[in-house]
Amino acid sequence: MLQSDKSRKADIFILLGTLCVMAALEIIFRANQSRVSGDLKHLQDIPEISKRIGEAKGTAILFMGNSLIGEAIDKETIKAGLLCDTTKPMVIEKVVPDGTQLPDWYFIFKNRLAGAGRSPDVIIIGFAWKNALQDGGEVSTRIINFACRFNDIADLSRFGIRGPERTSEFFLSKLSSVFANHSIIRNRVLDIMVPYYREGTQFVNTASKSHVQTPKTEPQPAYSMLSRLFQMIAFHNIKSVFLAMPVVEPYTINPALIELISKNGVFLDCRDVPGLEKNMFVDPIHLGKAGQALFSRYLAERLRNIISPCSSARPGLPSAFLRNDKS
C-alpha cells in the first residue's frame, strides 16, 4: 500500500474515532440529562407543565422568570390567598429555569407554551434591575437547544442578536445537547474535582464584573423583543402581569418600561415589600423560606385586585379580563 493511502486511511480513522467519542457522549448525555441537574429536569418538565395548564378546568396562572421569582413564590400560599372558595379549581405553575432572561422566556413562551393546547389565563413575569427586559440580552445555549427552532435565527437577528459567532453558537446548540449544556456539565464536574468551586467561581465573577467599565453614555434602551412578546400574549388572550421583584440592593426601573408594561398589561412594583428584611434573603437576590412565605402572601393580596376569582363571571378571572374563549 502506498504511504499516502496509509496515511489518508489513518487520518480518516482518527477523525471518525474522534467523532465517535463525541457522538457517544451526546447519546449518553441525552439519555441522562434530567439527572444531570435540577434545572435541566425543570426544562424537561415544561411540556408536562404546559399539558397541566392545557387541562386546567379553572383559572390557570403561570409564573415565569428565573430563580429570582422561582424561589420567591410558594404556589400554595398564592392559591390560598387568591381563592375565596378553595374548592374551585385553580392551577398555578412555575416555569423558572436558572439564569434566564427575556430572550429565553420569549422562546420558551413562543415555542413551548403558547399554542400548546390551552394557554394560561394569566402569565406573571418576575424581573429585577435596571437593564432587565430591554433588547440586547442573549438566549442561553440550553434554551436554544430546548426551545428554539432552526427558523428562530431570523427572529434573533431581528432583535439584534446576530453575527457569525452568535449564529454558529445557535446552530451548534441546536445540533448538540452537550454543547448547549456544556456549562452545566462543566460546573458539575468541576464542583466535584475542585475544592470550593462554587465559592471561588462566585468570587471570580463578582471581581470580574467590578472591573467591567460601563460606558459613559448609555444608549437609549429599546424594548422590541418585549413588545413582540406582548403581541404574542395578546394574540393568545392572556393577561400579563410584570413584577418588579425585591432584591437586597435597591434598583431603579426605566419609566419607559413601566409605561410599556402598563399599556399592555399590569405592572406591579414589589421592590419594597413591607416586612421583608435583608435577613430573609439567602443571598443578594434569592429569598429564603420566611421571605418566600411573606412575599407570596403579599403578592396574593395584590394579585387579588387583579385576578379576582370571587367576582368572576367565569371561574378564575374578573369579567374585565375575560378573553374570547377559543373553544
Binding site: 502506498l2 504511504q3 499516502s4 496509509k6 496515511s7 489518508r8 489513518a10 487520518d11 480513522f13 482518527i14 471518525l16 474515532g17 474522534t18 465517535c20 467519542v21 463525541m22 457522549l25 457569525p164 459567532e165 454558529s168 453558537e169 448538540s176 452537550v178 454543547f179 456544556h182 456549562s183 456539565i185 462543566r186 464536574v189 468541576l190 474535582m193 475542585v194 475544592p195 470550593y196 468551586y197 465559592e199 471561588g200 467561581t201 468570587f203 471570580v204 471581581a207 470580574s208 472591573h211
Partner: protein, 472 residues
C-alpha cells in the same frame, strides 16, 4: 478574527477550498488578499501600515542586492531599519518615552509639555516589523535572495497564520517556501491536525480557564491578598501565558502545514528547562533567536571576553523586554532575565566539559523546579501593572502564609486543567520527539484527539479571551 473564534474557521474553510484549487502563483496572490482581509478585519487602517513596511523593505532589499558598494548597502539597510523601528517607536513607545522625558525634565526643574498620541497600537506590529527587518538584514548579509516579485514578498510578510503573533520567521528559511510550488506530503494533514488540536486545547481549555484566576489576583489590591493567593495567581499566569502563546503558535503551525508551509517551532516545553539559556532555547524561540542573531551577535556576542558577553546578554534581554511594550515592568522583566543568565553563567552554565556525566534525574528535577520558579518571578514582573504592585505582592508572598478558600480553588483549577498537559509534555520531553503523537497507532491518536475534542466541547470557558501576545 482570532483562532479561537467561529468566524476564523468559517473564513479558513472558505479560503482553504479555493486555495487548494489554485496554481502556485495564484495561490500566493490569493494568500496575500486573504491575509489583508484577515488583518483588516481588526481595523482596515492597519493594512496601510503593513503595505508601507513591505514596500520599503522590497525596495531596500532590491537596492542592497543590486549594489556592490558595502558602504552604500549599509546606508540603504539603515533606511529599512530606521523605517521599521520608527513605526514601532511611533506606535508603541512614543507616549512612554515622552512621558518619561517630561518626568525627567520636571525632576530637573524644567516644565515641558509634550503632546500625547491617541492612537491604537496595530495588532502584531512588533511581529511583522521584526520579520520584515529580518528580510532586509538577511539580504544584506547575503543569506537570502530578494524576492523578484513584490507580491511574493507581500504574501511572505502578511502570511495570515503567523501575522499577528508569530513565529517571527527568517527570510532565508521562509521566503523560499513562497517562491517554490507547494508540496503536500503524505502525513502533512496529520501533522497539521496535531498542531491545531493541541493548540486549541492549550488556548481554549488551559489558558482561557486559568485567565480569570490570574486576572482576579492581579487586579486586586495586593494588601487584600494572602501569600498563597499571590502564589496561585502567579502559577495560573505562568501556565496561562505559556498555553496562550504556544497554543497560538501551534495553531499557526498547523494551519500553515495544511497550506503547504513549514513554520518553525516557537516553543519546546520551556518549563522543563534547567537553566536560563536552556529556557530561551525553548521559549519564544523565534524572538530569542532573532535577538541572538541580529542583536547579541551584532553587539559582539561572546567574542570579546566574559565581561562584554555579560554586558551583551543584559542589553539583549533588556531590549527583548522592551520589545513587549513600553512599560517599566517589561524593562525590569528583561533585566531580570539578563541577570539570571549572567548569574548562571558565573556558576558554570554553558561551559562544555569533556566526559561530563549526564545530569541525574533528581538533579534535573531540582534544576527544573528552580528554573520554573525563577521564571515565575519574572512573570510577576511581566503581569503586574507597575513596580509597586510587584513589590507589594512579593512581600505578601514571603510574609503571609494564610491558605484561603480562594487559594485552594485556584490551585484546584490550575491542577485540573494543566496536569493532563504536563503529563503529555513530560512524555514528549522524555521521547525527545516533538511529533511523537503523530507517530503512535491511529487508535491511540483517536483517543487523545477524542479527549481534546471532548474537553473543547465541554470545558470551554463561558468567556473566550483574546491572545495575550496580540498586544505586542
Amino acid at each position: 478574527m482570532i483562532f479561537n473564534s467561529y468566524i476564523f474557521w468559517l473564513f479558513f474553510a472558505g479560503f482553504f477550498v479555493i486555495y487548494r484549487m489554485l496554481p502556485h502563483t495564484l495561490q500566493n496572490r490569493f494568500l496575500l488578499i486573504s491575509s489583508y482581509i484577515f488583518y483588516g478585519y481588526w481595523d482596515w487602517r492597519f493594512c496601510g501600515l503593513l503595505a508601507f513596511s513591505t514596500i520599503v523593505d522590497f525596495l531596500v532589499a532590491k537596492t542592497i542586492h543590486e549594489s556592490e558598494s558595502q558602504t552604500y548597502r549599509k546606508r540603504v539597510l539603515l533606511i529599512s531599519i530606521i523605517t521599521n523601528l520608527a513605526l514601532l517607536g511611533f506606535f508603541k513607545y512614543y507616549n512612554f518615552f515622552s512621558t518619561e522625558l517630561v518626568h525627567a525634565l520636571a525632576g530637573l526643574g524644567l516644565s515641558v509639555s509634550l503632546p500625547m498620541l491617541n492612537v491604537i497600537l496595530p495588532v502584531g506590529l512588533s511581529f511583522y516589523t521584526f520579520q520584515s527587518l529580518s528580510y532586509t538584514i538577511d539580504v544584506y548579509r547575503k543569506k537570502a535572495i530578494p524576492a523578484k516579485n513584490f507580491f511574493d514578498l507581500a504574501a511572505y510578510v502578511s502570511f495570515f497564520p503567523q501575522l499577528v503573533a508569530g513565529p517571527i520567521e527568517r527570510a532565508s528559511r521562509f521566503l523560499p517556501q513562497f517562491l517554490t510550488p507547494r508540496v503536500h506530503n503524505p502525513g502533512d494533514f496529520s501533522i497539521g491536525l496535531y498542531h491545531v488540536m493541541i493548540g486549541l486545547f492549550k488556548k481554549v481549555i488551559v489558558a482561557d480557564n486559568l485567565a480569570p484566576i490570574a486576572n482576579v489576583v492581579f487586579s486586586k489590591n495586593a494588601a487584600d491578598l494572602s501569600g498563597a493567593e499571590v502564589l496561585v495567581g502567579i502559577y495560573a499566569f505562568a501556565i496561562q501565558i505559556y498555553c496562550d502563546f504556544s497554543g497560538y503558535s501551534s495553531i499557526a503551525q498547523g494551519i500553515a502545514k495544511w497550506l503547504g508551509f513549514d513554520l518553525m517551532w516557537n516553543f519546546k516545553m520551556p518549563y522543563f528547562a534547567v537553566s536560563p539559556s536552556d529556557f530561551w532555547k525553548r521559549w519564544h524561540i523565534s524572538l530569542s533567536s532573532w535577538l541572538r542573531d541580529y542583536l547579541y551577535i551584532s553587539l559582539g556576542g561572546n567574542r570579546h571576553g566574559n565581561l562584554l558577553m555579560y554586558r551583551n546578554l543584559i542589553i539583549t534581554m533588556l531590549l527583548g523586554g522592551l520589545w513587549h511594550g513600553a512599560r517599566w515592568t517589561f524593562v525590569v522583566w528583561g533585566l531580570f532575565h539578563g541577570v539570571i543568565q549572567v548569574v548562571y553563567r558565573l556558576l558554570g552554565d554553558g561551559k562544555k566539559e569533556e566526559n561530563a556525566k549526564p545530569m541525574s534525574l533528581k538533579k534535573r528535577l531540582l534544576m527544573m523546579a528552580i528554573m520554573f520558579h525563577l521564571v515565575c518571578i519574572s512573570w510577576l514582573l511581566f503581569r503586574a501593572d507597575n513596580l509597586p504592585q510587584v513589590w507589594m505582592m512579593t512581600i505578601k508572598l514571603f510574609t503571609d502564609f494564610h491558605i484561603t478558600h480562594f487559594a485552594l480553588y485556584g490551585l484546584g483549577m490550575v491542577l485540573f486543567f494543566s496536569v493532563p498537559l504536563l503529563v503529555y509534555e513530560a512524555i514528549i520531553e522524555k521521547s525527545k520527539d516533538l511529533l511523537l503523537l503523530t507517530k503512535i497507532k491511529p487508535a491511540k491518536r483517536a483517543f487523545v484527539y477524542g479527549f481534546c475534542a471532548l474537553m473543547l466541547w465541554v470545558f470551554a470557558p463561558l468567556l473566550s479571551q483574546v491572545f495575550i501576545y496580540f498586544q505586542f
